[in-house]
């Protein structure tokens, strides 16, 4: 079986104000033991599923760039050895611009990382402070330059918009500055105020203005237009890749009707999630999905390390994924993509056509102008991209 392989690195220097990920500040001394535990978990899986082959490898976090290049390299080597990760397969590492240097980037590149995803979030000093980021815009620019020098030809940048008090022009300025760095890939995320985060609490206390959803919609649409002009394909609700050929329209379908048609820079690893193909996650709190079930690892790195040291299972929250759930999830994830869900693939997977399973829902949302359904492929319309939640829910049976 082929699967995308995810490695979680749950360490950060300081927690950002909006972040509710499974990550911890102040646990850096666990790194060595953590990497050893990762290697154990990989070994365990190799024994458990000898047929498993990794298609892509992705270091996510947290802040994976807090591992030493040697530690990253050791994990990559273990994956290559045990899961036959092909030469040239996509190996992504998420990096915080405040934690990289020319030499660390060079070592990472030499060690096998071929795609770098930098968490930029904003080009504005005040916004970076609001978000509690540990780096400045200048450090972002330096990190991007260093990445190029180190030989990274596949650079992705993450941005957040719709911040409390953010104006449309300030957002457009951030985007312009970021485009000047000529990334191959961009992820633009509308801010979600996650309950319990310091940012959400400041908004709740009235210290910061409530983000305005309609303004966020305008920012999104303005960015979509700007990126179209700049030669990017939007292949997912929040993801753009620079294209070999150019898209003609917003939310255009790439040549061949598959995301890969957008060019070489789409995130192949993430495509596996949206297509609900199997993935194996290792590390604290990582989720995995192999046919029939999904689970999570113990979230706290100390618990995770202890379990692996003791040879105990670190799996928790195992959720059987029934046929019915799988149908709904396939739609919920697949409709995020410009390529949508094709009847042929759906049929191959579930043994029944889209019309049979979802005829009424498809007709209803097509009539509302949120879905495009031609009997062979269903996907969101340009308007539907902004209203996905109104649509996805209807597909959960």
């Amino acid at each position: 079986m082929k699967a995308a392989l995810y490695v979680h690195v749950p360490f950060c220097l300081r927690r950002c104000t909006y972040c509710d990920f499974n990550t911890y500040a102040g646990l850096l001394e666990l790194r060595a033991a953590y990497v050893a535990a990762l290697e154990r978990e990989l070994a365990w899986w190799a024994a458990e599923q000898p047929e498993l082959e990794a298609t892509t490898l992705y270091f996510g976090g947290g802040t994976p760039s807090l591992l030493t290049p040697e530690q990253v390299q050791a994990v990559i080597a273990a994956v290559r050895r045990r899961f036959a990760l092909p030469e040239g397969a996509e190996v992504t590492l998420e990096a915080n611009p405040g934690t990289v240097t020319c030499s660390s980037l060079e070592s990472l590149r030499r060690g096998g990382v071929n795609r770098l995803s930098l968490g930029v979030q904003s080009a504005d000093a005040a916004e970076l402070r609001l978000l509690g980021r540990i780096h400045t815009w200048e450090e972002v620019v330096a990190a991007a330059r260093a990445a190029r020098q180190a030989g990274f030809d596949n650079l992705s940048l993450d941005l957040i918009f719709g911040l409390p008090g953010q104006t449309l022009s300030r957002w457009e300025q951030t985007l312009a500055r970021v485009l000047a760095l000529e990334p191959e890939h961009l992820s633009l995320y509308a801010l979600t105020l996650e309950p319990g985060t310091p940012l959400a609490e400041r908004v709740a206390r009235g210290e910061l203005p409530e983000p305005v959803p309609d303004l966020a919609a305008e920012m999104y649409e303005s960015a979509s237009r700007r990126l179209l002009e700049a030669g990017f394909w939007q292949y997912e609700i929040s993801n753009w890749a620079r294209g070999a050929a150019s898209a003609q329209l917003l939310w255009d379908l790439p040549p061949g009707g598959r995301s890969e048609g957008c060019g070489p820079w789409v995130s192949h690893h993430n495509l596996a999630y949206w297509r609900m193909e199997p993935w194996l996650g290792v590390g604290a709190g990582a989720y995995s999905y192999l046919p029939g079930s999904r689970w999570r690892n113990l979230p706290h790195p100390a618990d995770y390390i202890a379990a692996l040291q003791a040879g105990r299972s670190c799996r928790v929250d195992v959720e059987p994924i029934s046929h019915t759930l799988a149908l709904g999830e396939t739609m919920m994830m697949g409709l995020r993509l410009a390529e949508g869900v094709t009847d042929a693939r759906f049929r191959a997977r579930f043994g029944a056509g889209l019309e049979t399973v979802y005829g009424e829902v498809l007709a209803r949302f097509a009539a509302l102008g949120l879905l495009e359904w031609d009997g062979r492929r269903v996907r969101l319309t340009a308007r539907g991209r902004l209203l996905g939640n109104q649509v996805f829910g209807a597909f959960l049976l």
Binding site: A4, Y6, Y189, A190, L191, T192, P213, D214, A216, A217, Y220, I237, S238, N270, A272, Y273, W274, W279, G281, G285, A286, Y287, Y289, R294, R296, D317, E319, L325, G328, E329, M332, M333, R336, L368, L370, R385, L386, L387, G388, N389, Q390, F392, G393, L396
Partner: protein, 602 residues
């Protein structure tokens, strides 16, 4: 038991003055409920979850205790704990009719309040012996001497007859029991006369049928008795007779003077009604006991199942609930917008809220509740008169001569500092101010007349907040009076929604109508298209607002680790939509129907 050794009494007070807590202590010192059980559970007689959660008694509940008094004799003490909230005074009045005495509890930190007086007068109307008690003397803010004096003066009794206690700590509560034994008269009870038992409450049990709570007036009843319900004519043999301990405990027989229950086995409310007299079919009494005045609902609202299929379930639930809540009335109705449901009558807004919650919890109903309205009397041009219970039924103005609305007499006890604030609130409610009486140096009793329709909205809350909780309020129906009243219709997406119509004074039609639709706009979620909402009087549009079309609702980030969480989020949203109603294409949440309750005009 010899009636000489029986005492029947209620505990009455203003809300929160400590009736149920005092009942706890009495249960404890009589050994009825053991102290261990008590420590894990306060207000044991508040047995409904809802009562425990809200810390408020909703149902009167009866219990029998045994206690050896100072004279060395053992007495059976039947106690009924009552609710303090004004909406439940019907419960109190029926409880009082089953007793010879009442413990009047007054909070030493608050003094006499509006329901202290209201419930005291109820007790006096029933010729009950009053045992006055000052509670919460353990609190630092207690003004024991002052409140003692107040209460002694009110009742015209010597100071030493008022018993100071701390129900919480148990201080001096034995004196209360002793006072009951010595001061309360034993029930006048003739065990040899033909059976007459008064049904003062009931509940439904799926095995035992209607369980009637009875005060035995004459004769006795056992499982062998063939009973006759004197009003309905239903005949049956009890499945069980017993007493409350507070659990139901079967006994051989119940005799005159006692309080207990009879499980009738009857399956419907209509056969064994609260207020009916039970007699022996083989040796019937000549005349029934005087029944209760049926409760007169003042506030009406419609209940609709959120899914039409649940209509029959809702009817069954209302049927059963009515057994346990004699003040609830309901009749089927249909609405263009909401299809089939029930128009229900309540004694007040709190009563309505409680019924709604009980239906949802105890009977698992998913409800849409419309805004409360009052009953209007209509005089038509042709001389015909009718009463309507919902605004949509107001006939065409061209055939209406006069519309009359109910007015209430409202009494408010307040510290003098807040007189101005209260006057201002009442002025905005079209109230007439009648008089102010001085209660003591610090407090006055103010009397107003207020249209009930104005009162239901939020009078009680406003007075509470304007006076930081220091004022208390009581009210009773006064009369129907004509006024210039019009119906404001609400159109959602151009379609009139009958359940949203309101009747208001013509002078307020514009202000209320436009405020109503603005409030609705706040709670109606943005939909996939723009939804206009209009307020209309007699076909003329007063005001309009638009619920803008939804532009953005999407999860920005959704990767492998998010699938489960995001799916659950969507599932929850979907379940949330079930609590909403589809009107045509428009989804309307429950709150929109109650927007009218939030019409504070400042």
């Amino acid at each position: 038991m010899d009636p000489k050794h029986i005492r029947n009494f209620s505990i009455i007070a203003h809300i929160d003055h400590g009736k149920s807590t005092l009942a706890d202590r009495l249960l404890e010192i009589t050994g009825t409920v053991d102290a261990r059980e008590m420590s894990s559970h306060s207000q044991v007689l508040d047995s409904m979850d809802l009562e425990q959660e809200k810390g408020v008694t909703i149902k009167a509940s009866a219990v029998q205790m045994h206690w050896v008094a100072a004279d060395g004799e053992e007495y059976a003490l039947n106690m009924i704990d009552t609710p303090g909230h004004v909406d439940f005074s019907y419960e109190v009045s029926r409880a009082l009719a089953a007793c010879e005495a009442a413990i009047l509890v007054v909070d030493a930190t608050q003094g006499i309040e509006a329901q202290t007086l209201a419930n005291l007068y109820l007790a006096l109307e029933n010729d009950l012996e009053i045992v006055p008690v000052i509670n919460k003397i353990d609190l630092a803010t207690a003004q024991v001497d002052k409140v003692l004096l107040e209460v002694a003066e009110l009742l015209g009794v010597p100071l030493d007859e008022v018993i100071p206690v701390s129900a919480k700590l148990g201080t001096n509560v034995e004196a209360v029991l002793q006072a009951i034994v010595t001061q309360a008269p034993p029930p006048a009870a003739d065990v040899n006369a033909p059976l007459r038992a008064m049904i003062f409450d009931s509940h439904y049990d799926s095995y035992k049928g209607v369980v009637a709570y009875v005060r035995m007036r004459e004769g006795w009843v056992s499982r062998k008795t063939t009973m006759l319900m004197m009003a309905t004519g239903a005949k049956t043999e009890p499945i069980e007779v017993g007493i409350f301990t507070p659990e139901m405990l079967p006994v051989e027989r119940l005799s005159a003077g006692e309080v207990g229950y009879i499980a009738t086995g009857l399956k419907t409310v209509r056969e064994a009604r609260v207020g009916d007299t039970i007699t022996d079919a083989h040796r019937p009494a000549a005349v029934p006991l005087a029944g209760y005045q049926p409760a007169k609902p003042m506030v009406f609202a419609s209940l609709y199942p959120s899914e039409a299929d649940d209509y029959v379930n809702l009817r069954d639930a209302l049927d059963k609930l009515q057994l346990n809540d004699a003040a609830l009335t309901f009749e089927p109705e249909s609405s263009q917008a909401l299809q089939f449901g029930f128009r229900c009558g309540f004694l007040g807004l709190f009563h309505m809220e409680i019924i709604q919650e009980r239906l949802e919890r105890e009977y698992d109903q998913n409800l849409i509740v419309t805004a409360p309205s009052v009953a209007y009397q209509i005089l038509l041009r042709n001389g015909e008169e009718l009463e309507i219970h919902r605004p949509a039924d107001l006939p065409d103005p061209t055939i209406v001569e006069e519309v009359r609305e109910p007015w209430m007499k409202v009494q408010i006890i307040t510290p003098t500092d807040y007189i101005g604030a209260i006057m201002e609130i009442l002025r905005r409610k079209r109230a007439n101010f009648l008089l102010t009486e001085t209660l003591d140096t610090r407090r006055v009793l103010m009397t107003f007349e207020v249209p009930l329709a104005e009162m239901v909205i939020d009078l009680h809350d406003r007075i509470k907040s304007a006076t930081r909780g220091y004022a208390s309020m009581d009210y009773a129906f006064d009369s129907y009076r004509p006024d210039d009243l019009v119906r404001v219709d609400v159109l959602v997406n151009k379609e009139p929604v009958d359940a949203l119509a309101i009747i208001v004074h013509r002078d307020k039609a514009y202000a209320r109508g436009s405020l109503l639709i603005r409030k609705m706009k706040e709670v109606i979620p943005r939909q996939l298209f723009e939804v206009p909402i209009q307020a209309v009087v007699g076909g003329k549009i007063l005001a309009r607002v638009n619920v803008q079309a939804l532009r953005k609702d999407v999860l920005a980030k959704c990767y492998g680790g998010d699938v489960t969480r995001k799916r659950k989020l969507l599932e929850k949203q979907k379940a949330g939509k079930k609590r909403m109603k589809m009107l045509g294409n428009v989804i309307i949440p429950q709150e929109a129907f109650l927007a009218m309750l939030r019409l504070d005009e400042d």
